[in-house]
């Protein structure tokens, strides 16, 4: 049972134009906000909706917005994290490509709620072709008075700018993103202070994912209670899932929160391809625990349900692997990615991912021993929870879970040796 909320204008002719958008309830959320809501009421409505950050961490959006100090004399910023680089995730891309105005409207409402006059869309460099789409939408919105000064005749002022990144995964981490946006090196900052207090240029800033912003106009239009009602008690609304891998119909699917994972795979995606059996699923972009077929059985796609099933929703990139998949190779591929993307700031992530990658490479070449596996197991806990930002953990989770859940795929690649005396 696919939903059509965020995706409802997908497929309409000329869906990126403001005319199409306006003809299909476009900017009504913004108008309603300006007419009927105080900024606090917007935040309350978002809190009521149980909307949680769609970028991966799942932090309650309303709560995040309420952290922005109202009395601060500094300007406040709304920043959209469109640096979608999580392996397996490609949901923000169609949201911007097919319906850019929905994002513009969501950010404008957020700007109103937070007392901000300026927003930035930080988009990953590989999405360069979407930049003109967004910029055209912003120009159209400006021309029609949905951005700029005196929006919809009110005294609310808000403007948006698009800033492309240069191809670093780390810039999806919100503080690294802010550094990059400021023109600095994309290194994560020390937290606290959190962006809500000291973000872009040291000013209060809210950073949200594309999908999070796009949900906001719907929450305003139909109410937080309605939105929450779509999903579960603690995970409101609908969510986009990018299903890839060994299924018959890979693609982006919008389903209600709490939707059964197997139903998504079997019904929406037409099941595992070539009549094969399911072996494993990485359900939330690569930075989550891998799941066995058995764990997938009763898993539901909501934040709590996925934790119960042994993983997490993450950014919604569902990678499906059939029975022929070698999980060692999958993991090797991922550690290659994380090693390549480690920014170099902190010791455990910089050196740890490099070391892990070298060990995997060695095993891949067929030169590995059981001692190498033991070393991998020893290194991972010294990266997890000790790195400067979550990249280190993201690199380790798929490895530790894969080694635990698919030990055979690892063991058969290595030669048994006597353990070396531990220090």
């Amino acid at each position: 049972m696919e939903l059509k909320i965020l995706t409802k204008r997908f497929g309409l002719p000329n869906s990126t134009s403001i005319e199409t958008y306006l003809a299909h309830e476009g900017y009504q959320g913004l108008q309603k906000t300006l007419k009927e809501f105080t900024p606090d009421q917007v935040i309350d409505e978002v809190k009521k909706s149980a909307l949680r950050g769609r970028g991966g961490a799942g932090f309650p959006t309303g709560l995040k917005w309420s952290f922005v100090p109202k009395q601060s004399p500094k300007p406040k910023y709304v920043v959209c994290n469109a640096d979608e680089s999580e392996p397996g995730t490609c949901k923000d891309r169609p949201l911007m490509e097919y319906d850019p105005h929905q994002l513009v409207e969501g950010m404008a409402i957020a700007g109103y709620a937070l007392g901000s006059k300026r927003g930035y869309i930080y988009i990953r460099g590989e999405y360069m072709y979407i930049v003109p789409i967004l910029e055209k939408a912003i120009d159209e919105a400006r021309a029609k008075g949905y951005l700029g000064k005196n929006i919809c005749g009110s005294d609310f002022e808000f403007d948006l700018f698009v800033h492309p990144g240069a191809g670093a995964y780390i810039c999806g981490e919100e503080t690294a993103l802010l550094n990059s946006l400021e023109g600095l090196r994309g290194h994560p900052r020390i937290k606290p202070p959190f962006p809500a207090v000291a973000g872009l240029y040291g000013c209060p800033t809210v950073v949200n994912n594309v999908e999070t912003f796009t949900a906001v106009p719907h929450i305003i239009m139909k109410g937080g209670d309605w939105y929450r009602g779509l999903g579960t008690e603690k995970s409101g609304g609908s969510k986009m899932f990018s299903v890839s891998g060994h299924v018959n119909k890979p693609g982006n699917y919008e389903v209600p929160m709490g939707y059964p994972l197997m139903q998504l795979i079997n019904e929406e995606c037409g099941g595992v391809w070539k009549g094969r059996k399911l072996k494993a699923v990485i359900p939330g972009g690569s930075s989550v625990y891998i799941m066995t077929a058995q764990e997938c059985e009763n898993a539901t796609l909501d934040y709590e349900g996925m934790v119960k099933a042994g993983s997490s929703v993450g950014s919604g990139g569902v990678i499906v692997m059939d029975e022929t998949t070698d999980i060692f190779e999958t993991t090797y591929n991922l550690i290659h990615f994380y090693n390549h993307e480690s920014c170099g700031w902190c010791t455990p992530c910089r050196e740890g991912t490099d070391w892990l990658h070298k060990l995997f490479k060695k095993i891949h070449r067929g030169e590995g021993t059981t001692e190498d596996l033991r070393m991998i197991e020893r290194l991972c806990p010294n990266i997890e929870g000790r790195s400067h930002c979550p990249l280190g953990e993201a690199a380790v989770w798929p490895i530790t879970s894969a080694m635990k859940k698919f030990p055979e795929d690892f063991r058969r690649r290595v030669r048994e040796v006597e353990p070396v005396a531990a220090d």
């Binding site: 090693n339 920014c343 700031w345 902190c346 010791t347 490099d354 070393m375 400067h388 220090d423």
Partner: protein, 746 residues
Amino acid sequence: MEMVKLTIDGKEYEAPKGKLLIEVCKDHGIDIPSFCYYPDLTPQAACRMCLVRIEKMPKLATSCTVTVADGMVVTTASNEILEMRKGMLDFILGNHPLDCPVCDKGGQCELQDMAFDHGTVYAQYAVNKNNTGEERLSPFIAFDEQRCVRCYRCIRVCEEWMDVHALTKIARGTHEYIGFYGKDLSCEQCGNCVEVCPVGALLSVDSRFKSRPWDMKETVTTCTYCGDGCQLNLGVRGEEYVRAASKDMTGINGEFLCIKGRYGSAFISSPERLKTPLVKKNGQHVAVSWDEALKYTAEKLAAVRKASGDASLAVIGSPRLTNEANLTLARLGKAFGTPHLTHFRKMELGDFWKNLSAPIGTHAEVQEATTVLVIGGDPTEESPLTGYSVRYAERKHDADLLVVHSRPIKIARRQADRFLHIRPNAESAIVQALVDEASLDQMAKTAGVPAADLRAVREAVHKAKNLAVVVGPQVTGAALKALARLADVIGKSDDKKMCFLPMAGYNNSVGAFDMGLTGNAADVREKCGQAVKAVYLVGANPVEQYGDGWKTALAKLDFLVVQELFLTETAQLADVVFPVSSYAEQDGSFTNQAGQVQRVARALEGQGQLRPDWLVVQAIAKEMGLNINAKGSAAALLKDIGTEISGYSGVSFAKIKESNGAFRTSRPLAAGTAFDPILADLRKQTGAIDTNAQHDTRVVEQGEGLFKLGTMLNQVPTMIEAQPFWDAHKGETAEWEGEFVAAAGD
């Protein structure tokens, strides 16, 4: 200060609220290993060595970023933490080349120490290392990437202490390295990045591969270049100079040194050093014994004195010499009975001292100032520690920085809150505007600056709560006198603090003056060959520095004695040349421009028949039968200084040590003498300013003062070799289009 109570490893401690946890731990002797934490640099949380367990925090926390709070419960020494440290060191040592046997840092390396204290016994890294080579970043600094632990101290020092931003991170992940954008490292080459590097990644080219740290004897002494008087650690292996480093953060300069301090001392071991006394026979210098040279000199001087009278002898000392040497020279001059007793100086300190209305401030006091006025000098290039101190005030508490200069110097371009870009030689006009408000508009026109800017500077100076005035040598004559009276003009009150810091020029400019060499050197030059028949000249090269006028003047003399390190242009003219000990080969003291007396300590014996200047002077006096109260050691001479010289009361080596290496002299403030005559002179001085002179807009990015080679730097091979590099990086441009360029006042 609000105090909080916290528990560390089961014990309760009190600490000031908001202090970094790692600092609190260090204060109480709790060892927390760290690389990226460094005092006075922004926290990084990069090396992850300092992780501790704090109750109620989900993960281990970096103690270098967490500030202490009431009720905090911290564990720094559990099994979990010890294992974490082992693991973290495994990571750091992973790609590290472990080339300790050939590394200059071996033995002084923080990574070695840390591996010893916290690491595992066996190497765990059974995969290939990412091997990289060594790269020369500049003629002074080399970088061995593979040894780097990525603590980023170097980058932060370059950005925060120096405000130079030459070093940065390049590439990412494990391929990340410390580097620069451009062709090579374009900076002041201060080498502070090398100083703070915990491992052997950043290296000084000049001392690389010369000695293991434990083969070196290190002696704390005072730098022999500018008037700041930075404390140095001179490393000597056998009888050869190896390197200079800063003292272990306890000197007035902390860890700071400039290019001259760090790389300028190799002249000590130069093969060009004079080794024996030389006497000119038939126009040629011939090596002779000390006895012969002393006897000959004494005879000649006595003969001149007898023939032409006491005043026919002149004694010229030097701001490069120790206080002890200058004291004996002053005594010799007095024993001669000659009025010609002087040294070469950039600044007429006598005028300044006589009118002093506020105390001379130390660098630490300048760092605390809330308003800093820099007038008529370029601290970055001429007095780097003063420059550092001014930047410190700006960086730490956003001091109001006012710069007056005839050129857009670096501190004006980069750090100043307000820059008065005056006409050449118009410093006096600004001084007049500061002390005489009525003339402000006219002075703005004279100096060629907008009146509003000048008014703002005047107001900032007059209203300042804690004012430091850094005075450079371009402030001269009546302007210098008037400026010294500034505190009187502003009016003193209890809630106002003020100090002066004169940029006196040389390492012992203040001491040379204080010891009594107060005459006028130019006056001696005029009289050479007429009233003055013989000159006793020590530690100066006027022919090279002050031009041919001196060459002709000295040539007219009947007799010239020179004490020098090298056979300089001036020494070549001398009838007798005595080879003397450099600052590194003798004991003694220097007085810096902040009026602090600091130790000069013998780091090596020196090669050849070297004697300290004071010993030579005393020997000459003895040969001539003059009593100059000769003493057998520098320590005894310094004691004499402590009884004879006003402001130096009680000074001795022991006293210097007690005062943490810097004995502060006292200087009386001017009694309320009439200000009107000074003002009248000042008006004359400003009246003579050429108001048609064009503003000098030339910009020299760096090196103008720092890289100027004198008698000593000329004998430093790295400095000579670096000349082409320097020419390429001077960054000289004819025009500066900065926002501070002032329109002409009219």
